[in-house]
């Protein structure tokens, strides 16, 4: 089979993996090697669905021994199959990299023959790239659940990032939809990678960086939203647990795209829950960058996020007694909790108010967007939203604004 056809099949098969991050790993690469990595990450293009393309994202192979119901590459489905060789992947990566098409490689694979065999192929590809082609660009490798951890560890010494997909939010759904996979088998390599990353950091400190880096950009995971019945609350709690216990860098959420007519799954003509996915990302952000706890966002009485307003506004409206916040006196943490104010704006405010007392005009001039924040702040004692301070009314206004803004993210049904 020609390389072009393989690329077509195996990039098509890899596109459902969400991660495209190329950040977090810096200082790789030197004067005599090809490429380097940047702490901030770089997007090289955007595909027709508006997603950033930063990595050559491909499967090594889509011949799979498993038959997970939600997966487009499951064994029982009739579709074109292909496998690369390690050399082909390495050459493709280098050719693309040298032309500045990509920031690096994201190599995943279906489980072909056995987990060990598959992991060996990924390892060999990584080793070719790093050792033969002198390639020091970004490298994200999938750790194959069930493979010998020695192989995964070796791969981790060559990769910038690794990930194990948790796939479904609960053991029960996993049993139903992916009977050949076990939650324990997925969590074990995740846990081991997390532990090794920590050990590596400690050892590198002790031996003054003599030791090789292990997965310097951290590890991540992905789970599918909407293929199984779990609530947002259990997903958010799971994510929070992963961040806290497994030292995880990112959890990615992927709205389920119907790929199968299995009676266990949403029907083929149903549309992917993109809005829900968007809300989960927002909530995830609140956990990681805004100092929120999972139980502040949802509770037993409220199992799912409001699709009409974002989770931060939702929280603010449920805690209206903490508002309005005076921008001239509120501390940074509280400013962060104001809907419409992010880390950048909050930092700007804290900086600028040292110089003088801020009014609405000042904020506007500082390019701080007040469209949403206005309902929740006072500037020098003044409340400038043109509506009464009432949660019902504010909610209605926010919903109207969201509806306009979100049209960008909504899917286009013009097939």
């Amino acid at each position: 089979m020609e390389i072009k056809e393989k690329l077509d099949i195996l990039s098509d098969a890899a596109k459902y993996d969400v991660s495209c991050s190329s950040s977090g790993s810096s200082n790789r690469g030197g004067k005599n090697s090809l490429g380097n990595t940047k702490a901030s990450g770089i997007c090289h293009s955007w595909s027709d669905d508006g997603r950033c393309i930063s990595l050559l994202k491909i499967l090594f192979s889509n011949y799979c021994i498993y038959d997970c119901q939600y997966c487009a590459n499951r064994a029982s489905v009739d579709r074109k199959r292909a496998s690369f060789t390690p050399r082909e992947v390495a050459e493709l990566t280098v050719d693309f990299y040298k032309r500045n098409y990509i920031e690096g490689l994201f190599l995943s694979s279906a489980v072909t023959k056995s987990p060990d065999w598959t992991m060996e192929q990924l390892l060999e590809t990584a080793s070719l790239l790093r050792n033969k082609y002198n390639y020091q660009g970004y490298l994200h490798l999938k750790a194959i659940p069930g493979a010998d951890f020695k192989l995964i560890y070796q791969a981790g010494l060559l990769a910038d990032r690794m990930s194990v997909n948790i796939e479904l939010p609960s053991e029960k759904s996993l049993k139903k939809l992916a009977p050949q996979k076990e939650k324990a088998a997925i969590l074990k390599p995740m846990q081991s990678i997390g532990t090794e990353i920590e050990n590596n950091l400690i050892e590198r400190k002790k031996y003054k960086k003599q030791k090789e880096k292990f997965v310097p950009a951290g590890h991540s995971t992905q789970l599918i939203v909407g293929a199984s019945p779990e609530s947002d609350r259990s997903i958010i709690n799971l994510a929070a647990g992963l961040y806290n216990n497994f030292n995880l860098k990112r959890v990615y959420y992927s709205a389920y795209l119907p790929v199968s007519d299995s009676s266990l799954l949403p029907a083929l003509n149903s549309s992917p829950p993109l809005k829900r996915e968007h809300r989960l990302y927002q909530a995830d952000w609140l956990l990681r960058f805004y100092g929120f706890q999972a139980d502040e966002l949802l509770s037993q009485e409220r199992e799912n996020l409001d699709l009409k307003v974002d989770p931060k506004a939702d929280w603010a409206l449920n805690n209206l007694d903490k508002f309005p916040v005076e921008v001239n006196t509120a501390d940074y943490q509280m400013l962060l909790r104001v809907p419409g104010i992010g880390p950048r704006s909050a930092a700007k405010i804290v900086k600028a108010r040292k110089e003088k007392k801020l009014n609405h005009y000042n904020l506007k001039k500082m390019r701080i967007v007040l469209k949403r924040a206005n309902y929740f702040i006072t500037c020098a004692g003044k409340y400038a939203a043109a509506v009464p301070f009432d949660s019902e009314i504010i909610y209605q206004r926010l919903v109207e604004k969201e509806a306009k803004q979100l049209s960008l993210f909504s899917q286009k049904q013009n097939k």
Partner: protein, 257 residues
């Protein structure tokens, strides 16, 4: 006495010399303008600024010591923006800066500070964008050629990035709009800024078309049909940057199933 307009040669050194002159003579010029943009008029006195390395160095040092290194970076980036009247904002920014010191960058509601910071931000954003959007093509003789037409004069900001990344290959980045280019030689590990006319086209390597074809098919295959969203795509990647891309936005719909 007539108010003065400072006319400089358009170089960064020239601008610094003009700024130096204004502070030295303790006057506020009505305008600091590039010779190329200057139009004669009767109302103001025209003062031609002779670019001077010594004067430019001196004011550079003053800015770094009396304001901050960060502020100096802002001035340089704002200069590269080539936005209209940016020189006048830079002058006012420094005028205030010499009075207030490094906290000038916290004066976020002062017009000159906003203008300079925003111009600098635009330049940095565009240069960051091109770190991703620049496409090299392999030429005969194994050199890599990339063309751009940026809004701002960012060539000099791209240089350190590509030098670090592609230190073992020869490359050239061509700013077609400003008819100049930066050339890097892997053997010498050195770079050079040259003039290069917009029409320049190199001879491409024999296997170049093949790799481009692979990239195009990867680009088309990657998009998820149920999420098709060209509006979002062009929001992140405005159409003005499409000309020199190898991939074709929109091509996922033409792909053979």
């Amino acid at each position: 006495m007539k108010k003065e307009v400072f006319v400089y040669d358009g170089s960064y050194q020239g601008l610094l010399t003009a700024l130096y002159t204004a502070f030295k003579r303790k006057i506020i010029p009505v305008k600091i303008i590039k010779a190329a943009d200057f139009r004669e008029d009767l109302f103001y006195k025209k003062t031609i600024i002779e670019s001077s390395e010594a004067k430019a160095d001196l004011i550079t040092k003053k800015i770094r010591e009396n304001i901050s290194a960060n502020s100096l970076k802002n001035v340089f980036a704002a200069y590269l923006s080539e936005l209209e009247a940016i020189e006048d904002h830079i002058f006012r920014y420094l005028f205030l800066g010499f009075k207030e010191g490094e906290k000038i960058d916290e004066f976020l509601s002062t017009t000159a500070v906003i203008k300079v910071q925003e111009a600098a931000k635009k330049v940095r954003r565009e240069s960051h964008r091109f770190k991703g959007l620049l496409r090299f093509q392999k030429t005969q003789g194994n050199k890599y050629y990339g063309a751009i037409e940026p809004d701002h004069d960012i060539l000099i900001l791209l240089l350190p990035h590509f030098k670090a990344r592609f230190s073992i290959q020869d490359w050239l980045i061509h700013d077609k709009k400003r008819e100049k280019a930066v050339i890097y030689s892997a053997a010498a590990k050195e770079w050079l800024l040259i003039e290069l006319e917009a029409e320049f086209e190199p001879q491409f390597a024999a296997d170049e078309a093949e790799v481009q074809d692979l990239w195009q098919s990867f680009f088309a295959a990657l998009s998820i049909e149920n999420r098709y969203n060209p509006k979002l795509q062009s929001q992140f990647m405005p159409k003005k940057y499409w000309e020199y891309l190898i991939e074709e936005p929109g091509s996922s719909r033409k792909r053979k199933k």
